[in-house]
């Protein structure tokens, strides 16, 4: 698809910003997301192409701002919904519950 992911040759993004001594994961959840992506692949939830396509279909604003692991969350969640494993409402409810517990 002619999506925002197809970045080659575009102008206007500015210089390449390099983080010195970048850690392997910036936050713990990034490692969990990496592992969940591999575990769901191994369980047969998606193949590499079905994994990639929902990332390409993300809202372009979101795509450009999201970290790579946030993009992975979007596609793993979408693939699990498409496969009938979870519903959006279940994830929303659990997410809201965890945010409420954190705030308490």
């Amino acid at each position: 698809m002619n999506g925002i992911h197809d970045l080659g040759g575009m102008h206007g993004f500015g210089p390449v910003v390099v983080e010195q001594d970048e850690p392997y994961f910036h936050e713990e959840w990034e490692g969990r997301m990496l592992a969940m992506m591999i575990a769901c692949f191994a369980a047969g939830v998606y193949n590499v192409d079905r994994f990639r396509h929902p990332i390409e279909k993300m809202d372009p604003h979101h795509y450009l701002l999201a970290s790579y692991y946030e993009k992975w969350l979007c596609t793993v969640e979408q693939n699990c919904i498409d496969a009938g494993i979870v519903t959006r409402e279940e994830v929303d409810a659990r997410h809201a519950q965890l945010m409420k517990e954190k705030a308490a």
């Binding site: 992911h5 197809d6 970045l7 080659g8 040759g9 575009m10 102008h11 993004f13 500015g14 210089p15 390449v16 910003v17 390099v18 983080e19 970048e22 392997y24 994961f25 936050e27 713990e28 959840w29 490692g31 969990r32 997301m33 990496l34 592992a35 969940m36 591999i38 575990a39 769901c40 369980a43 939830v45 590499v48 990639r52 990332i55 809202d59 604003h61 979101h62 450009l64 701002l65 999201a66 970290s67 790579y68 692991y69 946030e70 969350l73 979007c74 793993v76 969640e77 699990c80 494993i85 979870v86 279940e90 994830v91 659990r94 997410h95 519950q97 965890l98 945010m99 954190k102």
Partner: protein, 204 residues
């Protein structure tokens, strides 16, 4: 943003780490994933996958002409012989830098990267500026990394659009004749294997 009403805060997923946790807990309850397997994956990446692996491949190619030849002819087999093959490094191609040719690797459509040899990619490799610009203006991107490519050197940019993953074989630095393979490996930086850097000289 398109209508002036978007802020970063309402475009990004709020408290994204907790949404990852929410999904993980649901998938664990439904027996789709085992959190203990996730622990092991994270540990394996943190302890076993990183540019130190690729550096061993490069150092071996510098000291062993037969290995170098094999690596350039069949990267998958040669890298596999050292054990650095697997997820996101299933099909490997090595690219030889010479005084006449400088290779640099990108994935414009995604952020594909050879995990078993280089680990997970740095943020800049996944960023829009790098993916957009290194194909159309590689020399200015390389300059930002401190590499001034002479006009008579050919720059080859490799876009990993398919399932092949690329590893640059940087040139062996001068003044390294007496060094062991292990000492040589310590000179091989991550960026030198992407093509945005050179191997370090021993005096560095």
């Amino acid at each position: 943003m398109k209508d002036g009403n978007h802020s970063h805060a309402n475009v990004l997923i709020p408290d994204v780490g907790l949404r990852v946790k929410a999904l993980e807990s649901l998938l664990a309850e439904k027996k789709v994933i085992d959190p203990a397997a996730l622990d092991l994956i994270v540990e394996t990446f943190e302890t076993q996958m990183g540019p130190k692996n690729g550096a061993k491949v490069v150092a071996k190619a510098w000291v062993d002409p037969a290995y170098r030849k094999w690596l350039l002819e069949d990267g998958t087999a040669a890298i596999g012989s050292l054990g650095y093959i697997g997820v996101q490094g299933e099909n490997m191609v090595a690219l030889e830098n010479t005084p006449e040719v400088h290779n640099v690797v990108v994935c414009t459509l995604c952020s594909c990267y050879p995990w078993p040899t280089l680990g997970l990619p740095p943020i800049w490799f996944k960023s829009a500026p790098y993916r957009a610009r290194v194909v159309i203006d590689p020399r200015s991107v390389l300059k930002e990394f401190g590499l001034d490519i002479a006009d008579d050197v050919e720059v080859r940019v490799w876009d990993s659009t398919a399932e092949l993953r690329y590893l640059v074989l940087p040139m062996r630095p001068e003044g390294t004749e007496g060094l062991s393979e292990q000492e040589l490996a310590s000179l091989v930086t991550r960026d030198s294997m992407i093509g945005t850097g050179l191997a370090q000289s021993p005096s560095h």
